[in-house]
């Protein structure tokens, strides 16, 4: 045990020295993340969504899900990702209670549809860093609620395939406008 500890300690010291020596990491020409874009485009946050409006968004999503016969969980959050309204349809799988909230939270906090994460992660290893960011969920079904060019919250849907979830989610998002 003592010997193993000493070896690990030695290894740690070696790693620390190696990283200190490599403070300047040379650029990797193959990595698309090396580019520094001039522009920073984003949708600004607006007034947090009200309960009445959240209910309207969820009702539109629920109507679409009912029409198609897909049991879903529907979450609506404010701009900070905190829950405002939630409903679980009868027979929706239990995992979706959390997943729908996660999708809504990620869409609000990152100001983009969660399909963006899904697509980028699918592009390959240079985008795998996304999975290390806080609160990311790389599955479509989370969409910001944009009114007059401002994000007032987000909707997250889960229960079926990602594509089914996103269909319902977008039906809800449309009702916010």
């Amino acid at each position: 045990m003592l010997r193993a500890g000493a070896v690990t300690g030695g290894l740690c010291a070696a790693l620390i020295m190696a990283s200190a020596a490599m403070a300047q990491v040379p650029p990797d020409p193959n990595n698309p993340n090396e580019a520094v874009p001039e522009k920073y485009s984003y949708t600004p946050y607006g007034e947090p969504i009200k309960l009445e409006q959240a209910r309207k968004v969820a009702a539109a999503a629920l109507a679409e899900a009912t029409k198609r016969g897909w049991p879903m969980c529907i979450s609506v959050v404010g701009p900070t990702g905190e829950l405002v309204y939630f409903e679980k349809m009868d027979d929706c799988q239990y995992a979706s209670i959390q997943i729908s909230q996660h999708k809504a939270r990620a869409a609000a906090r990152y100001r983009r549809p969660t399909v963006v994460f899904e697509r980028l992660l699918g592009k390959g290893p240079f985008f795998s860093y996304l999975a290390t960011l806080d609160d990311v969920i790389a599955s479509r079904g989370g969409n910001p609620l944009v009114v007059d060019g401002k994000i007032i919250g987000a909707i997250g849907v889960s229960g079926g395939t990602g594509s089914q979830d996103d269909t319902i989610s977008q039906a809800g998002a449309k009702a916010a406008q």
Partner: protein, 132 residues
């Protein structure tokens, strides 16, 4: 095989609407959470003016009542007499979580947070009453 009642989304909407009406009647802004008997969230509505903390607390009060089949008011009383009960896992011993009992079976619970604890419970009870 034993059959037991289960809350549907329609039931939840009925409960939530009645609870919200009780809150509005008193000019209270609260969050109302409805869970099944396994502590899984079925329905949540956070009224304008209720905080993100209210959402978390309503959910935890509801979870406590649903999973233990006791009101959180009962937990509060028992904790006052036996402080060691605070160590019970996943228990929020603050009034405002009320089990929903149908035909002698606990089918879930309502958790409310936003005003004074006894007022939270009043809202939860009004919601459950609407179930008939």
């Amino acid at each position: 095989m034993k059959q037991r009642p289960m809350l549907t989304l329609d039931d939840c909407k009925k409960i939530s609407a009645a609870a919200e009406a009780e809150a509005r009647r008193n000019n209270w802004n609260v969050c109302i959470a409805i869970l099944d008997d396994g502590g899984h969230l079925l329905h949540l509505a956070r009224m304008d003016g209720a905080t993100p903390a209210n959402a978390r607390i309503a959910l935890e009060k509801g979870r406590t009542a649903a999973e233990t089949r006791r009101s959180t008011a009962n937990w509060q009383e028992r904790v006052a007499k036996r402080i060691e009960l605070l160590r019970m896992p996943q228990v929020t011993p603050v009034q405002g979580g009320v089990p929903i009992v149908v035909e002698g079976t606990c089918v879930g619970a309502v958790g409310v947070s936003g005003v004074q604890s006894h007022e939270d419970e009043q809202i939860a009870a009004a919601g459950i009453k609407a179930l008939g």
